[in-house]
C-alpha cells in the first residue's frame, strides 16, 4: 500500500513556489496525483493493486502466521495498552458509579462496578437513606444488559424494520393523534415514580388533551386505589420497621416479593439479633397468616397457614377485636382455630399500641386493605410506626378495566405500551384482549427489552434500553430523588420510556444517535436534557455542583417526601368492607388456586435472566420452571409424587402443570408462581414452566376458588436443588427461643449431639489457631490479616441475593436445567432450607422430627417450621480438602484462606468428597465454553449440547462475556472451584494498603474496609466479614456473641466461617408456642 501524503496547507500570505505550470494552475490532473508517493505512470492496475507484491507478501506472511496459530493450543489474545490514557481508566481497576434501578413502584439505589467501560457487578448504595443490601432481582439485572436474546431491532408486525421506519411510524401516529387533539391515543404505563417520566406524561396530556393514560402492572393490587379513598390522594404509608415491634402480616411477603414501602429487611432484622439477655419487648415479634410458605413466613415467630380466601375474614376478626365491626359478616366465616390463634395475637398487638402494625399483602383484595387501614388506625400506628407520606401529584390514569372498555368501545386507534408487563401474556384473559386489539384495528406500539408475545404481535416494537444504558430519574420509597445515569452507550440503540414519550412529542429521534457534522459538538441527548430539566425543578434550580453531587452520591439530599396531613376515613373504609363478600374455605372438591409472583422471574419480566432462573426458589428449591405448590396433606391425599402433572380446572380454563410438595402449605389450596410459560423469549426463558396468568379473568383476581384438580399419569423431572427437607437430628442449624437464650445465653454451643463429642486430638501440630510459644506453627496474627466470617441466622431471611451476587462477582457459570437436575449446580453458596415438625422424643424431650418415621399429621405439616442456612466454603483452618489433594492445588494462605490454584488442579475430586460441608463444586463440563442451555442434534442423536463435547455448539453469545469480572479466572472443565472469600477483593485491598502505607509498618487494611460480594449484597446485614487479627473488626465483635457456633465442630476442622444461632420470640399465649424452636431443648 502506498502512503498518501497529506500536504500541509499553503500559507495564505506567503510567497508561492511552484514546480510546474500544472501546479501553478492547480490543474486537476496534477492535484489527483499530488498525494502519491510515486508519480503517475507508476500506478498499478486495480488487479495489481489488489494482488500486488506487497499484498502477496502480506497474505503469505499472514497465512504462515495463521498456520502457526492454528496449531497453537490456545488462541492468542492480546491486551493493548491505551496509547492515550483514558481518564479514570486503569486496566484491571474498576471504577464505581452510583445509579438507581427503577423498580415497580420504587427504586433500588445502586453502586455499579465498571471495568473498562463494562458494568460488571452491582451492589447497594450505602450512602442512600434506603441503601444497603439489594435483592436478587436487582443483583441479577446487570446480566439482562448483556442478554444476547435481548430485543435488538425495531419490529413492525413481527418483522425487523429500520430505525428510520420506526421513527416514521411513531411520527405518523403522533401526527395522526395531533389532528384529533389526542383522541384515539392511549398510553399504558407501569407503576413508576420517575419525576421525568411523570412530567413527560403530563406534557403528553397537554399536547394531546384527549389522549388517555392507563396504569397497568401484571401483579399490582388494589392497595393504591384503597389508600386513595381511605387515606387521601397521593398518601403513601411508609412503614418504619425500626419502630415496629409487633408485626402481623396478612399474606404479606414484605421480606420477599411484596413491595412494602420502608426498609423491611434491614430494619426488621436489626431487631432479631440479641447478644445479651433481653426482654421480650426488646425483640420484635412477627405473626404471619398465609396460605403458603414465604420468606416472611419463615422469619415468623408465629405462623399459621390458612386458605387465602380466609384472609379477609382474618382481617375482619382483628378489626372486630379492635372495635371496628364493619367486617362482622366477613368474620363469621372464620373457623374456630383461626379465632383461637388471632385472639392472643391481637391482645399482644393491643398491649404494644404505638409499636404494633398490621400489614396486608399487595395482592390482597380491597376490603383487606380498608380493614388494615382501620386496624392500624386503632393501634395508633399512623404517625408512630407508619409514616404517611405525601407523594408528588401524578397525572390521572385509568386502570386495566378502563383500557379494556376503551378498546372494545373502539375509542383507541393507537396504544403505546410502556409498562414492563406484557399485555398479550399477563393481562387478565390475555388471549381475548389480544384478539380485541386486532379486531378493533388498534395499532399497538410496544416498548420492551424482551421479544415476548406482545413484542412479536405489536404493530411496532421498539427495543427498550436497559436502565444502565439511558438517562432517567426515579424516586425511592421514601421519595429521595435519584438520577439514573447510564454506564454504557446503548448496546443495541434501545430507547427508554422517556425517549419514546419525547419521540411522541417530536423532540427526539429514536435509534442510533446521529453522527455530528465534522467539528460540530454532538447534539445534546433529549433524554438527558429532560432529566436535567426535571432535576432543576426538583432541586430548585440547575446548580451544576448540586447535579454533580447528586450523581456522585446517587441521590439528592433532602428530597424525601413530606409527611402527609392525612387521617383515616372510616366511612370510606366501611363502604369498601361492606361491599365485600365472605370467601369460603376450600374443600376437597373445591380447591383454591393462588397466583403469586415468583421468586425467580417476578411477574415474568426476568424470564430471560439465567442467574435468576438458576437461583433456587427459597421455599421449594425449584429452578428453571414453576410448579403447582400443593400442601403435604393434599399431596398425599391425591397420591402425587414430585413433578407429577395435574390438570387444574378453574374459571373456565384448564392448565396442566407439574405438582411439587410444599410443606407448610395449607390443605386444599394450590399456589402457582407466575411469570413462566412464555415461549419464544429466548434461550434462557423459552419453554420454561407453565403460564398461570391464564387462570385470571379479572385484574385483581389472584385467588380463584372452586378449582377442580385431576391427577395425570405423566411425571416431569423437576430441577430441584435440595431433596432432603429435614436435618435428620443433626445440629447443623441451631435456633432457640428468647426464653432459652435468657436462661442460658450459650445454649447454641450445647445444642445437638455434636457438642457432646469431645474434640479431636491430632498427633500433628498443624497450622491451626493463633501462633504463640505453645503453637509455633499457628497463624500469624501479628503481621498478617486473618480473614473470617460470621453469618447471623437470626437475620438471614433466606433470600437468594448472596448467591446471585457471588455468581456475578466470581464468574460462576450457569449450568442449565439439564445439569441442575443432575445435581451439578455451580453456585458457590448453597442455601440449605430445612423444615421441622416438633415431636416428643426420648425422655419427653421435644425434638426435631425425621419425617419418614413419624408420619406427622396434616395439621403439623401445614404448620411445619422452616429455616434457611447459607453455606459456602467454611475456610477451615485444618481443612480436610487440603490434605487429600495429591498435587497441592488447594493450599492454605498465611491469612487463613483455603485457596484454590485452578491451573494446578487436575480434578481428582477427592477434596469434594472430603469436605464435610460439600462446599466444593466441580466443572463437569466446559460450562463457559459450550452452551449448556440448548439441545443439539448430531449424528441423529438429540441431547443437551454439553454431551456432544467438541462436536457441540460453542458459546457464540460474546455479549455475556462482557459481564465477566476480569480479576477472577474463568474456570475450564475438569477443575474444582469454591468460595475463597472474594480473594480478588482482599488482594486489591492489600495492594491499595501497600500503596498507602509507604514507609510505615502498618500493613493492615482499615477496619471493615473490605467486603465480600455476598456480604455487600445481603439486605439483612446477616453476613459479617473481616480481619480476625484486628480486634476492632465487626467480625470479631460478631464472633464474640454467645450465639456463635461452628457447624460440625466435632470434626476439628476449625472453620473460619461461623454462625450465630437464630433467636425467636414466641408469645406464650399462642397455641403451639411450646413447639417453637424445639431444637434448643435438645441439649447435652
Amino acid at each position: 500500500m502506498k502512503r498518501n501524503w497529506i500536504h500541509p496547507e499553503e500559507p495564505q500570505n506567503a510567497k508561492r513556489y511552484w514546480r510546474s505550470t500544472a501546479e501553478l494552475e492547480r490543474r486537476e490532473s496534477f492535484l489527483k496525483n499530488l498525494g502519491r508517493e510515486f508519480p503517475a505512470g507508476d500506478t498499478l492496475t486495480p488487479e495489481e493493486a489488489e494482488n500486488g507484491r506487497r499484498d502477496f507478501l502480506k497474505i503469505m506472511g499472514a497465512s504462515v502466521g495463521l498456520m502457526g496459530l492454528a496449531s497453537c493450543r490456545r488462541p492468542i489474545t492480546t491486551i493493548l495498552p491505551y496509547t492515550q490514557h483514558v481518564e479514570w481508566m486503569v486496566p484491571g481497576k474498576p471504577v464505581l458509579f452510583a445509579t438507581t434501578m427503577p423498580r415497580c413502584g420504587g427504586a433500588t439505589p445502586l453502586v455499579v462496578t465498571v471495568h473498562e467501560g463494562r458494568p460488571t457487578h452491582l451492589s447497594g448504595n450505602p450512602l442512600h437513606p434506603l441503601g444497603g443490601g439489594i435483592d436478587s432481582f436487582a443483583q441479577a439485572s446487570v446480566l439482562d444488559l448483556y442478554d444476547p436474546d435481548r430485543s435488538q431491532k425495531p419490529l413492525g408486525a413481527g418483522k425487523a424494520i429500520s430505525w428510520a421506519k420506526a421513527n416514521e411510524l411513531i411520527a405518523a401516529a403522533a401526527a395522526d393523534a395531533k389532528k384529533s387533539s389526542g383522541a384515539g391515543l392511549g398510553i399504558v404505563v407501569g407503576a413508576t415514580t420517575s419525576p421525568t417520566y411523570l412530567r413527560l406524561l403530563g406534557e403528553i396530556k397537554t399536547a394531546f388533551p384527549q389522549a388517555k393514560l392507563y396504569g397497568y402492572e401484571a401483579v399490582g393490587g388494589d392497595a393504591q386505589a384503597v389508600n386513595k379513598e381511605v387515606l387521601g390522594a397521593g398518601v403513601k404509608p411508609f412503614v418504619k420497621f425500626s419502630k415496629a415491634m409487633r408485626i402481623l402480616a396478612l399474606d404479606c411477603d414484605f421480606l420477599g416479593v411484596d413491595p412494602v414501602a420502608g426498609e423491611p429487611i434491614k430494619e426488621f432484622t436489626k431487631h432479631r439479633a440479641k447478644e445479651t439477655k433481653a426482654a421480650e419487648n426488646d425483640m420484635n415479634r412477627l405473626y404471619v397468616l398465609e396460605n403458603r410458605y414465604t420468606l416472611t413466613g419463615g422469619m415468623a415467630d408465629h405462623r399459621k397457614a390458612i386458605p387465602a380466601a380466609l384472609i379477609p375474614a382474618a382481617a375482619a376478626l382483628i378489626a372486630e377485636q379492635l372495635g371496628d365491626a364493619s367486617g362482622k359478616a366477613l368474620a363469621a366465616s372464620a373457623p374456630q382455630a383461626l379465632k383461637d390463634w388471632i385472639a392472643p395475637a391481637v391482645r399482644d398487638l393491643i398491649d404494644n399500641k404505638g409499636t404494633a402494625v398490621v400489614l396486608a399483602g399487595s395482592r390482597c383484595s380491597a376490603e383487606v386493605h380498608a380493614l388494615v387501614a382501620s386496624i392500624n388506625n386503632a393501634l395508633g400506628a399512623y404517625g408512630s410506626a407508619i409514616d404517611l407520606l405525601q407523594e408528588a401529584p401524578k397525572p390521572d390514569m385509568g386502570d386495566f378495566a378502563a383500557l379494556q372498555a376503551d378498546v372494545s368501545g373502539g375509542q383507541l386507534k393507537t396504544l403505546v405500551s410502556l409498562t414492563p408487563a406484557s399485555l398479550f401474556y399477563d393481562a387478565p384473559d390475555a388471549a381475548a384482549f389480544a384478539k380485541l386489539i386486532t379486531e378493533k384495528g388498534v395499532k399497538l406500539v410496544h416498548v420492551g427489552s424482551l421479544l415476548n408475545s406482545t413484542a412479536l404481535h405489536a404493530a411496532v416494537h421498539i427495543p427498550a434500553a436497559h436502565y444502565l444504558e439511558a438517562w432517567g430519574d426515579v424516586r425511592a420509597a421514601d421519595g429521595s430523588y435519584s438520577i439514573v445515569q447510564p454506564m454504557i452507550a446503548p448496546l443495541y440503540d434501545g430507547a427508554s420510556e422517556n425517549d419514546v414519550l419525547l419521540a411522541l412529542l417530536g423532540r427526539k429521534k429514536l435509534g442510533p444517535a446521529e453522527k455530528p457534522a465534522d467539528g460540530a459538538a454532538p447534539a445534546e441527548d433529549a433524554g438527558y436534557t429532560a432529566v436535567r430539566d426535571t432535576f432543576a425543578q426538583v432541586a430548585g434550580g440547575l446548580d451544576e455542583s448540586k447535579w454533580n453531587f447528586t450523581l456522585r452520591d446517587g441521590f439528592l439530599k433532602g428530597s424525601a417526601y413530606a409527611r402527609a396531613n392525612a387521617s383515616v376515613n372510616a366511612a370510606a373504609a366501611g363502604t369498601i368492607v361492606s361491599k365485600a363478600k365472605a370467601g369460603a374455605s376450600p374443600s376437597d372438591e373445591a380447591i383454591e388456586v393462588v397466583l403469586v409472583p415468583s421468586s425467580g422471574v417476578y411477574d415474568g419480566r426476568y424470564i430471560n435472566n439465567a442467574w435468576l432462573q438458576e437461583a433456587p426458589d427459597p421455599i421449594t428449591k425449584l429452578t428453571w420452571e414453576n410448579a403447582a405448590w400443593v400442601g403435604s396433606a393434599t399431596f398425599k391425599r391425591l397420591g402425587l409424587e414430585d413433578g407429577q402433572h395435574i390438570a387444574i380446572r378453574a374459571n373456565g380454563v384448564e392448565i396442566e402443570i407439574p405438582a411439587i410438595e410444599a410443606p407448610g402449605h395449607v390443605s386444599n389450596s394450590i399456589t402457582i408462581p407466575l411469570g413462566y410459560g412464555q415461549n419464544n423469549v429466548g434461550t434462557v426463558g423459552g419453554e420454561k414452566g407453565v403460564n398461570g396468568y391464564v387462570m385470571r379473568r379479572l385484574p385483581g383476581q389472584f385467588v380463584i376458588s372452586g378449582a377442580k384438580v385431576e391427577v395425570l399419569g405423566t411425571v416431569a423431572e423437576l430441577a430441584i436443588t435440595q431433596t432432603q427437607n429435614t436435618m435428620e437430628g443433626r445440629a447443623v442449624y441451631r435456633e432457640g427461643t428468647l426464653e432459652t437464650f435468657n436462661k442460658d445465653t450459650e445454649f447454641a454451643q450445647k445444642t445437638g449431639m455434636d457438642s457432646h463429642i469431645p474434640e479431636n486430638i491430632s498427633f500433628y501440630k498443624g497450622q491451626v489457631g493463633k501462633k504463640d510459644t505453645e503453637n509455633p506453627d499457628g497463624f500469624d496474627y501479628e503481621t498478617k490479616h486473618q480473614w473470617g466470617m460470621s453469618i447471623d441466622l437470626s437475620k438471614c431471611i433466606g433470600c437468594t441475593a448472596c448467591i446471585v451476587a457471588c455468581q456475578s462477582e466470581n464468574n460462576i457459570p450457569v449450568v442449565g436445567k439439564n445439569q441442575v437436575r443432575k445435581g451439578r449446580l455451580m453456585q458457590w453458596i448453597r442455601m440449605d432450607r430445612y423444615f421441622a415438625v416438633a415431636k416428643t422424643g426420648i425422655n419427653n424431650v421435644a425434638q426435631e422430627s425425621t419425617w419418614a418415621e413419624d408420619n406427622p399429621t396434616p395439621e403439623q405439616l401445614e404448620n411445619a417450621e422452616m429455616v434457611h442456612q447459607p453455606l459456602a466454603c467454611q475456610q477451615c483452618e485444618a481443612a480436610p480438602c487440603e490434605t487429600v489433594c495429591p498435587v497441592n492445588a488447594t493450599v492454605h494462605t498465611d491469612d487463613g484462606l483455603n485457596a484454590m490454584a485452578y491451573n494446578r488442579c487436575i480434578g481428582t475430586r477427592y477434596c469434594a468428597n472430603n469436605c464435610p460441608y460439600t462446599a466444593r463444586r466441580f466443572n463437569w463440563f466446559d460450562y463457559n465454553k459450550r452452551n449448556p442451555l440448548v439441545e443439539t442434534e448430531k449424528l441423529g442423536i438429540k441431547a443437551n449440547n454439553l454431551y456432544f463435547g467438541p462436536l457441540g455448539e460453542k458459546r457464540e453469545d460474546e455479549s455475556i462475556r462482557l459481564q465477566r469480572n476480569p480479576n477472577v479466572t474463568v474456570r475450564m472443565r475438569g477443575v474444582i472451584e469454591k468460595c475463597t472469600y472474594c480473594v480478588q477483593r482482599l488482594e486489591s485491598a492489600k495492594i491499595l494498603q501497600k500503596q498507602v502505607q509507604r514507609d510505615s509498618k502498618n500493613f493492615r487494611v482499615p477496619t471493615d474496609s473490605v467486603k465480600t460480594a455476598c456480604q455487600q449484597s445481603c439486605p439483612a446485614d446477616a453476613i459479617v466479614f473481616g480481619d480476625l487479627a484486628d480486634a476492632k473488626s465487626s467480625v470479631n465483635i460478631a464472633k464474640a456473641s454467645p450465639r456463635n457456633y461452628q457447624v460440625l465442630k466435632y470434626i476439628g476442622t476449625r472453620p473460619r466461617t461461623s454462625y450465630l444461632a437464630r433467636l425467636r420470640n414466641p408469645n406464650k399465649n399462642m397455641p403451639g408456642a411450646e413447639n417453637i424452636a424445639v431444637w434448643s431443648n435438645n441439649q447435652y
Binding site: N913, P916, Y947
Partner: protein
C-alpha cells in the same frame, strides 16, 4: 494282646497334587500343546467379543476425555462413584496372584504351582484395568503428570500427605514388582517353548524373552534365589497395596469412610475377591484345555477354603463396622450405616453386598459343595459381584448421604459408566485369552518339582511304577530297580 499290623497308626495318603501319575513329558506336552496347537472354537468365540468390548472401552474413555467427566453420573455430593469403585474392585482382584505366588511360596504350599502362573497373569491384567480408572477419572487427564515427582519450573512438589499420591506409588510399585516376578517365573518355561519351536519368528521371540536359559544348575540356582527374593519382596506388597487403597477412605473425615478397620478389612476382601476371580477363570480353563489332572479338585477345594476364611473375615468386618457405629455414639457415624443398610436410597446395594459376600461363601462349609464345580462357580460369581457392590456401597452410597443433609442427593450411573466398566472386562479377557494363546498357563518347571518323581527318595518308597521315559530322562538316578513285579 496280639501285636498286629493294625496297631501301627495308619498313615493317610496325601492327595496327590497331580492326578493319574502323570509323567514329566506328559506335562510338558500338555501345557506346551495349548500354545502350540490351534485354539479351540470357544477361544475365538470369547476373543472376538473381548476385542470389541476393548474397543468400546477405548471409545468410552475417548468420549470422557473429549467431553468431560460429566458424561459419567457423578454429581454434587457423589464426586466418586463407579470410577473408584471399579478401581478398587480391579485392584482387589489383582491381589490373589501375588498372594498365591509369594506368600504361598514362602509358606511352602506346594499346591500353588498349578495356579500361580495364571493367577499372576490375572493380577497384572487386573492392575492394568484398575490403573485406567484413577488415571482417566480426573478432570484434566492431560495434566495427570502433575502426580509424578518431576522437578518443574514452578517448584511445586506433590502433596505427600495425600493418600491419592500414596496410591500412585503403591499401585505402580505393585504393578512393576508383580510384572518382574511373573516374568522371572516364565523364563524356564519360555526356554522350553523356545526349544520346541521350529526356527522362525516364534522361536526368535521366545528365545529373546527366555534370556538364554539353558537349564543348567547354575541357572536354576540363581533363578531360585532370585525367585525367593522377589517372593519376599512382594509379600509385604500384598498387604500394603490394598491397605494404601483403603487409606483413601480411612484417612478422610467422611463418616462411613473414616474407620481404622479398613486396612485389614480391605486386604481380606481383596484376597477374597481375587481367589474368586482365579477360580472363575481357572475352572473353565482346566475343563477346556484338559488340565484336570494338573488342576485338581484339591486345588479348588483349597481355594474354596481360603474364600470361606476371608469371606468370614469380611463378614466380621461388616458387623464390626456396624457395632462401632453404634458403640461410638457418634450420630453421624451411626447415620452413615443406618442409611447404608436400612433407610437410605441404596439399601438394595447393601443387601446384595451382604448376601453375596457373607451368605454365599457359607456353602463352602460342606465338602461336596467345594468339589462340585458348578457350585464353586456359582459362589465365585456371587463373590465377584458382591465385592463390586461392597466398594459401591462404601464409595457411592456413603457420599449420597454426606454430613450436611441439605446437600444430600441420589446417584445413578449413565451408559458411559456402565459400558466403560463392561469394556474393562473385555480388555481383561482379551489380555487373558492372549496369555492363554501365547504363554504356558501353568508353570511347567514348578509343577514338575512337586511330582512324586522329583523327590530324590522317590524310588525308595515307590510303590507305583514310574514311566519308562522318566527313567530315560534321568538314567543316572533311576537305574537300580526294575518296576513292577
Amino acid at each position: 494282646m496280639e501285636a498286629s499290623a493294625s496297631n501301627t497308626p495308619r498313615i493317610l495318603d496325601r492327595e496327590p497334587l497331580v492326578l493319574n501319575n502323570r509323567s514329566y513329558s506328559w506335562i510338558t506336552n500338555r501345557i506346551c500343546g495349548i500354545v502350540e496347537n490351534k485354539q479351540p472354537a470357544l477361544w475365538w468365540i470369547l476373543f472376538v467379543p473381548s476385542v470389541l468390548l476393548t474397543g468400546l472401552m477405548v471409545f468410552c474413555f475417548a468420549y470422557l476425555i473429549s467431553t468431560g467427566v460429566g458424561v459419567w453420573g457423578q454429581k454434587q455430593p457423589v464426586a466418586w462413584a463407579w470410577d473408584i469403585t471399579n478401581f478398587v474392585f480391579w485392584i482387589g482382584i489383582g491381589h490373589a496372584g501375588t498372594l498365591i505366588s509369594a506368600i504361598l511360596f514362602l509358606t511352602r504350599q506346594k499346591w500353588r504351582t498349578s495356579v500361580n502362573r495364571a493367577a499372576e497373569a490375572m493380577t497384572i491384567f487386573a492392575v492394568m484395568c484398575a490403573g485406567l480408572f484413577p488415571a482417566f477419572h480426573v478432570g484434566r487427564v492431560w495434566m495427570v503428570w502433575f502426580l509424578a515427582p518431576i522437578p518443574n519450573a514452578n517448584a511445586i512438589w506433590q502433596n505427600f500427605k495425600s493418600p491419592l499420591l500414596w496410591d500412585v506409588f503403591a499401585v505402580s510399585t505393585y504393578f512393576s514388582v508383580s510384572l518382574v516376578f511373573w516374568f522371572l517365573g516364565l523364563v524356564p518355561d519360555l526356554a522350553t517353548l523356545r526349544d520346541r519351536c521350529r526356527p522362525g519368528l516364534k522361536k526368535f521371540f521366545y528365545g529373546l524373552f527366555a534370556l538364554g536359559w539353558r537349564g543348567g544348575n547354575r541357572h536354576w540356582s540363581h533363578y531360585e534365589t532370585a525367585y525367593m527374593l522377589l517372593a519376599a519382596l512382594s509379600t509385604p506388597l500384598v498387604l500394603s497395596v490394598h491397605s494404601v487403597v483403603s487409606f483413601d477412605f480411612a484417612t478422610s473425615v467422611v463418616p462411613g469412610w473414616h474407620t481404622t478397620i479398613f486396612p485389614p478389612y480391605f486386604v481380606a476382601g481383596a484376597i477374597f475377591g481375587g481367589f474368586a476371580m482365579v477360580l472363575t477363570l481357572m475352572i473353565p480353563v482346566r475343563r477346556i484345555y484338559g488340565l484336570d489332572d494338573l488342576l485338581t479338585p484339591k486345588h479348588v477345594d483349597n481355594m474354596a477354603k481360603i474364600i470361606l476364611l476371608t469371606g468370614t473375615i469380611v463378614g466380621y468386618a461388616y458387623c464390626m463396622e456396624l457395632f462401632m457405629a453404634y458403640y461410638s455414639a457418634n450420630p453421624y457415624e451411626a447415620a452413615a450405616f443406618t442409611l447404608r443398610g436400612l433407610t437410605g436410597p441404596s439399601i438394595w446395594a447393601y443387601a446384595l453386598m451382604f448376601s453375596f459376600n457373607v451368605f454365599a461363601p457359607q456353602l463352602f462349609w460342606y465338602r461336596p459343595f467345594r468339589h462340585n464345580m458348578w457350585v464353586v462357580m456359582f459362589v465365585c460369581m456371587c463373590v465377584n459381584m458382591g465385592m463390586w457392590y461392597e466398594r459401591y456401597v462404601i464409595i457411592a452410597t456413603t457420599l449420597e448421604r454426606h454430613m450436611t443433609p441439605g446437600s444430600w442427593g441420589e446417584y445413578s450411573a449413565t451408559w458411559v459408566d456402565q459400558w466403560t466398566f463392561v469394556g474393562t472386562f473385555g480388555f481383561f479377557m482379551m489380555l487373558f485369552l492372549l496369555f492363554l494363546r501365547f504363554l504356558p498357563v501353568i508353570a511347567i518347571g514348578e509343577v514338575k518339582g512337586v511330582l512324586p518323581q522329583s523327590d530324590p527318595h522317590f524310588d525308595d518308597h515307590a510303590e507305583k511304577g514310574i514311566q519308562e521315559e522318566d527313567l530315560m530322562a534321568y538314567p543316572d538316578r533311576h537305574v537300580a530297580k526294575p518296576i513292577a513285579a
